[in-house]
């Protein structure tokens, strides 16, 4: 519960919120450190670590050579030795090179060592489809990583939840992958001055409603909210939930919504095959089948590499108009 009249706030951009969360945790716990390409004196490609190297020194904010598998491995080794590293992938897509360390070691070593060694690392970076960044820089890694046992995945979408999730991820004893989005770093919001930490496993109710449950995360939240405006004008009452926790799903919040509206639309940026939407559809069908009045509808990107041409790129990402049409069809 939030009593707006007694909370002081300050305004900042999403990348600043991430930095604020990171800085607070580095102040709080001397074991927290950052490593990645250009995170030190350059301040990070998206300025999330700007100023931190100056404050904490360049051992605690470490610039690494270009070898993602290796600095991720380095973070795993440092974590097993007692540190709490945060690995920045300059673009999440580059972490494909770190898959071996993330899957075979990061996710596994707590289990295979019989609980002797823990890996409290945070892996974060910008992903998703940007503005004409080309196929290799437009990957949706949450698709590929979601199967790895032993890791948790969260996606932030507002300055408020970015800071809260960053802090929660750092404090977690499990390896957490925090997905940021290339196009959301300059979002502005007024966030509380007082310290807060969000739950890694909770979804966020963005707009309560009665007619349909729209599940989304990251940038697509904004496309959904834009569509929601149109839908409201047309007389619909959509319930919009930002799922935030990609692994595990918050089936409690999602379930309560499904039981209320009986209709589900998933809007994601992942590709049709094997994305978060595909897994979420399966989970909802399995758990809430009896409550559905219609099949779960999932709007995703097509199974194509993201094209560079602006018009083509726009058509590979779900747009508000498609969301409106899907809701209209679902609610028929």
């Amino acid at each position: 519960m939030v009593f707006h009249f007694c909370i002081t706030r300050h305004e900042l951009l999403l990348f600043e919120a991430l930095r604020e969360g990171l800085e607070e945790e580095m102040d709080r716990d001397p074991r927290v450190c950052v490593m990645g390409e250009d995170v030190g004196h350059y301040g990070g490609s998206y300025k999330v670590t700007k100023g931190l190297a100056k404050k904490y020194g360049d051992l605690r904010v470490l610039d690494t050579p270009i070898a993602e598998n290796s600095f991720t491995g380095m973070a795993v080794g440092a974590a097993m030795t007692g540190l709490r590293p945060i690995v920045e992938g300059m673009n999440m897509g580059f972490l494909l090179l770190a898959f071996n360390q993330i899957s075979n070691n990061c996710g596994m070593l707590h289990y295979t060592s019989g609980g002797q060694f823990k890996i409290p690392i945070v892996i974060r970076g910008p992903g998703g489809v940007g503005r004409q960044l080309g196929a290799e820089h437009s990957q949706r890694l949450e698709s590929y990583f979601q199967s790895i046992p032993g890791i948790q995945m969260v996606a932030c979408s507002t300055p408020y939840n970015a800071k809260g999730l960053m802090k929660a991820a750092i404090r977690s004893e499990n390896p957490v992958i925090l997905f940021e989005h290339v196009l959301l770093y300059n979002l502005k919001e007024r966030i509380p001055d007082e310290e807060y930490v969000l739950s890694l496993e909770e979804a966020e109710m963005v707009r309560p409603g009665e007619h349909v449950t729209i599940l989304t995360y990251s940038r697509m939240r904004y496309h959904v909210m834009q569509a929601a405006k149109t839908l409201v004008n047309k007389g619909y009452d959509p319930e919009v939930i930002d799922i935030r926790s990609l692994k595990p799903f918050d089936l409690y919040t999602i379930g309560n919504s499904v039981k209320k509206t009986h209709r589900v639309l998933i809007v994601e940026e992942c590709m049709r095959t094997g994305g978060i939407g595909a897994s979420l559809t399966a989970a909802i069908n399995e758990n809430f089948h009896d409550y559905l009045d219609a099949p779960v509808v999932c709007l995703s990107s097509q199974d194509v590499p993201t094209p560079y041409a602006g018009t083509l790129e726009e058509w590979t990402v779900v747009q508000p108009a498609q969301i409106v049409t899907a809701v209209e069809q679902l609610c028929r």
């Binding site: 690494t64 290796s70 491995g73 080794g77 097993m80 007692g82 707590h110 295979t112």
Partner: protein
Amino acid sequence: MGFLGKLNHSFLGFHQRNSSLVSPIDESYRNAVVVLNNAMALFSVRCSESTLAEAQRDSRYDEHENQILDFPGGQVTFTSEMRFISESPEKRTKCYQVLDDNGRPILGTSFQPLSKEFAVRMYSNMVTLQTMDTIFYEAQRQGRISFYVTSNGEEAINIASAAALTFDDVVLPQYREPGVLLWRGFTLQEFANQCFGNKGDNGKGRQMPIHYGSKKLNYFTVSSTIATQLPQAVGAAYSLKMDSKDACVITYFGDGGTSEGDFHAALNFAAVMGAPVIFICRNNGWAISTPTSEQFRSDGIVVRGQAYGVRSIRVDGNDALAVYTAVQTAREMAISEHRPILIEALTYRVGHHSTSDDSTKYRPVDEIEHWRMARDPVTRFRKWVEWNGWWSDEDESELRSSARKQILHAIQVAEKVEKPPLSDLFTDVYDHLPSNLLEQERLLRETIKRHPQDYPPEVPM
């Protein structure tokens, strides 16, 4: 256009003015080189107009009138002689050795002296390791354990390197270094428990045999993936450096593991970061069936150290005293100078790669026998210990029979110990059991209740 653009410009200018002196510029490299040589004087003038981001420098000369210029990365001297560095050195890097094949110190050699107790302890551990390997291998062949990996021929590397370290030094093994655990006090029973995957295993029965791990003994759990421990070692060293601990990290890998990208990046990172880590390569000649001649074309691994800016040494891996001395010195350097060290220990993999391999299929039996008998590191060290008057034949037979008895007993006990409970299938995936795993465990228990005949009876519920 930048600096290089201006340079090209100047070549053309030079050519036009002095076409009688140089051959016409075409696209061929040779001609470009001739022009380059002749353009040196012009180059030195053009320098001052460079558009490099760094401060403008005039060219300088060393005492031999060779031109020096600052490039990113430091000063280089120019030469007008075009010479390629050979792909292989004239002579291979020499190998540090202390004892000859008869266990006698080589004349003029220097090594770290050992006390009788310490030397005997080292030797006993080597014998125990050798015996343990033989018996566990047999146990696998009898079907009592599913899999085993021996360290035959590498006992000196295992024990001598471990003996040169303190218990604070963090070990990141590949999988052929159980001797390091043995040295640190991992009991034979603990080895057996892990191989049998029973309740007594630190790893709770989750890994295949020989994937030992002990946080207490600072030995990171073995992970099957090759060379992934190398960048992890750099990370662990980074952690030690941050805490200014008087300790280093040691990590082991084979000749095959050096082909992995992680090897390259780990050495590079370690050098750049000044991480106190000792990289020990057990160059035993074989990566399963791939001989080193098919693994790389460099002079082994030691020459790669300098390529990364890492101090390195080649040692005779079958010479316990050489390994001991080198590792001890490396440790001092790593900690006091904050630098990584690369040690290439030359040896031979006497056993098969694992129990899933029959190496007689790809290498001659007499080669294996030669190394097993004539070049055994355990025998060689024994000779030195005996020569010092510290060991006798009675000690030998007593040790071997005692070790054998203990190992057999450990196996018998381990065989009978309960397997880990079903709940351990789901714990430790995360710090707490999440709802989806609770649900999956519930479903599994229901299924087992309904079909008990389809599930192994000896797993406690």
